[in-house]
Symmetry: C2
Subunit: 130 residues, 2 copies
């Protein structure tokens, strides 16, 4: 096994982080170079990335934002605010609220489309049953 296992302090290699998060190692490096991470993960003396629990928790949030349609650019803006530290909370709040509004609108729209699709399905069901 090449598990690069958690050495007690909660640090994992990029491969294990990727597996846990369901991302590719490429994507993890990409997120980092694109400024989506609040802090770059620590490195071993040899320059290899070591992700701790805080890194992983943050990336889960990034995944949630991405999965709900927030563009990479905006996740970066949010990460920048968090990096900037105290005082940026109102801006972070505004950003997340705006995103939530968009997600709610999208949910409503998809739900509406879903109704129409279901109606179409029911039409075919009646047709096929005959």
């Amino acid at each position: 096994m090449t598990t690069t296992e958690d050495r007690g302090t909660g640090h994992v290699s990029i491969a294990e982080a990727a597996q846990r998060l369901g991302l590719s190692t490429h994507a993890l490096r990409y997120y980092e170079t694109e400024g989506l991470l609040v802090g770059a993960p620590a490195r071993t003396p040899a320059g290899r990335r070591r992700y701790d629990e805080r890194d992983l928790t943050w990336i889960v949030m990034v995944q949630r934002l991405r999965a709900t349609g927030m563009p990479v650019r905006e996740v970066r803006e949010y990460a920048e605010l968090v990096r900037a530290g105290r005082g940026t909370e109102p801006a972070r709040l505004a950003l997340l609220r705006a995103h939530r509004e968009r997600v709610l609108a999208q949910l409503a729209e998809v739900t509406d489309h879903l109704g129409a699709i279901t109606a179409k399905i029911e039409g075919y069901e009646r047709q096929v049953d005959r």
Copy 2:
């Protein structure tokens, strides 16, 4: 005015169809060349497209499928089945059912993410209120 208005029989120019549907004329032609339309719209003697109500109704369905995440390729498959006519109803039904399952799964996932985002927002609200 250059409204290219409906001449009684429900035929409209590509510009008006685009406006009604909220698409660009480019996108309408793209959908046509990509095989997403069941039948190509009729043409004037000069070769200009004239969309009738059936064309428009179909495109609205295409928009619903696209807006719920169905890839262009799959919309084309569906359109091909419809074009093939009688006997393809079970296949159409299967395609739409599979899509509905994906949409339902996506809705559940987004709703879950939304909960986490809302929790984050509430955390900031408490912090900012202080």
